[in-house]
Amino acid sequence: MNDGVNGVALAVFIFFFVLVTAMGFLAARWRKAANEHTLDEWGLGGRSFGTWVTWFLLGGDLYTAYTFVAVPAAIYAAGAAGFFAVPYTILVYPLIFTFLPRLWSVSHKHGYVTTSDFVRGRFGSKGLSLAVAVTGILATMPYIALQLVGIQAVLDVMGVGGGENTNWFVKDLPLLLAFGVLAAYTYSSGLRAPALIAFVKDTLIYLVIAVAIIYIPIKLGGFDEIFASAQEAYSQTNPATGAPRGAVVPGEAGQWTYATLALGSALALFMYPHSITATLSSRSREVIRRNTTILPLYSLMLGLLALLGFMAIAAGVKVQNGQLAIPQLFENMFPDWFAGVAFAAIGIGALVPAAIMSIAAANLFTRNIYKDFIKPDATPRQETAVSKIVSLLVKVGALIFVLTMDKTVAINFQLLGGIWILQTFPALVGGLFTRWFHRWALIGGWAVGMIYGTVAAYGVASPTQKHFGGSSKEIPGIGEIGYIGLTAFVINVLVAVVLTFVLRAVKAPEGVDETKPEDYTADVGDPGVEVELPPATAGSAH
C-alpha cells in the first residue's frame, strides 16, 4: 500500500477537507442566538434543530467513519458475524420511538443538557448522576480515538502516512493537522459545526456507496461471483485457530452471539452521550418521532456497505490490518479522483462524530462533575468556557491514545465502552418510565454490571491477544456464547430489583424527585417548555 503518494486522490481529499474546515468556522454564525455564551447554545445548538438537521446530525453521529471501516472489515475478516450491525440498527428505532421523546420533554422542561442531569433530577442522587457521567466519559473517549484510527487508515492507503521507517513526526503530521483543525472549529462553533458539516459528509457517503454498490460488482462479475469467492476464502482453515476463517451464513453456534450482540448494541447506542446530545438539540418531540421513520435509510446504507467486505475478498485485497481492507478496495477499484472522494467521505465521516462526541463528553464533565462537585454556583458563561476547554482536553486525550498505543487497544476499549455504557440503561430508561427503582439499588446494579462486564471481557482471549480479545462469552446459566454487555445488563437489572426490595424494606431514604408525570409528555408550546430561537436561554440552564 505505501507505494508512493496517490497525488490525485490526495488533492481531492484536501479540497473537501478545506471546504468543511471553512464551513466549520462559519457555522458559528448559522442561526445564531442573542446569547451565545450558554451551554444550550454551544453544546446543543440552541436546541433549535428541525427534522432534517437532526436527521443529518444523528446520522453523522451514529454512523461514523469507524463504522464505515469496521463493519466491512469485520465481514472481510469473518463473514456473517459482522453483519449483526444491520439488525442492531433496525432495533434501535423502535427503542428511540418509545423512550427518547420522554427524555426530550423532561429535559426541555427542566433545562437538562445531559442524561446525568436527568438522573440527578429524577432520583435526587448526585452519586448516581456521577456514575452515569463517568461511565459516559469513559465510554466516549475510546470512541473518539477510533475516529482518528479511521482517518489514519485513509491516510495510510493514500500513501501519506509514511512507511514504518519514516520519522514519527512526518508519519503523524497529517493526523495532527486534521486533529488541530477539528479541535479549533469545535471550540469556536460548538454543535453547529458538526451539524453543518454533516450535510457534506452524508452527501459524499451516499454518493460513494451508490457508486460502489453498482460499479464494483459489475467489475467483479456480479454478486454470484463475489459470494462464491467469499465462500471459498472463508472455508480455508485459519492456521492460528485451526477453524475455518468464517462463514457466509452463521452456523447454529453463532446465532446466540449474533442476536445478543444486535440487541445489546441497540440498547447501548442511545445511552452514549453523543446520541443524546444530538437528540436534545432537536426542536420538538415530533422531530424525534419523525426521525425514527427516516433514520433507517442509514441502516440500508450500512447493509450495502457491509457487502463491500465480500467485494474486498473477491477483488483479491490482501491486508494484514483489516481496517485497511475497504480503503484499499476503493484505491484498487476506483479511478484516482473518485478514490479521493471516497477517502474524503471517510475522513469527514470521522470529523463529525468526533466533534459531537467531544462536545457531549465535555457537557457531562461540566454539568455533572464541575458544577455538581467543584463549583456549584458557576454561571452559564463559565459553564460554556469550561465545556469548551474540556472538549479540547478530551480530544487531546484521544489523540495521545491513538499515537502512543497499539490500534487494537483502542478497539478493545471501544468494545469495553459499549459494555460499560449499557450499564447506565436501568437508571436512565428505568427513570423515564418509573420511579420504582431505589437510587442506591441502581448504583449497586450499575457497579455489579460494570465489574462483571470488565472482568468477563478481560478473560476473553483471541488468537492475537490474551485479554480483551472480543466481546462475547458464555452466558452463565444458559451455556450459549453471548454478548457480555447484555449479560452484564441482565445481572445489573436483577441486582437493582433485589436491592430495591431490600432498601424499601429497611426504609432507606428516597431522593427528592423534581420531575412531575406531566413533564414527560410536555411539548413545545406547553407552559414552561423553552421555545425555539431566538430567546437566549441564559440563566434557564440552572
Binding site: T89, T98, G222, F223, F227, V248, Q255, L300, G303, D523
Partner: protein, 88 residues
C-alpha cells in the same frame, strides 16, 4: 407504551395502542430469531437470503415505525379532543 397524559379519560390499553405495540415489537421478534433466516437460499441477484432478508427488514421495520407514528398521532389528537380541545 404507558404514556398516559395526565387527566386522560378512557382506558390506558386500547386496540390502537395494542397495534402500536405490535408494530414496535415485531422487528425484535423477527431479528432476534436468527435461526429463521440463517440460510443461503433463496438468493436474490446472487446475494444469499441471510443478507437480503435483513436488508428487507430495514424497509419493513421502517413501514411499521411509520405506521406506529401515524397511529400515535391520531391517538393523541383523539385524546386531547376528548379532553376538551387542549392542544397536544
Amino acid at each position: 407504551m404507558s404514556q398516559t397524559p395526565q387527566t386522560t379519560p378512557g382506558p390506558v390499553v386500547t386496540p390502537v395502542r395494542v397495534v402500536i405495540g405490535v408494530c414496535l415489537l415485531a422487528p425484535f421478534v423477527a431479528m432476534l430469531w436468527v435461526g429463521s433466516y440463517a440460510k443461503t437460499d433463496p438468493t436474490f441477484i446472487g446475494i444469499p437470503f441471510f443478507y437480503w432478508y435483513q436488508m428487507l427488514w430495514v424497509l419493513i421495520s421502517t413501514t411499521l415505525t411509520m405506521t406506529a407514528y401515524k397511529l400515535w398521532q391520531r391517538d393523541q389528537r383523539a385524546r386531547s379532543a376528548a379532553k376538551g380541545g387542549a392542544e397536544q
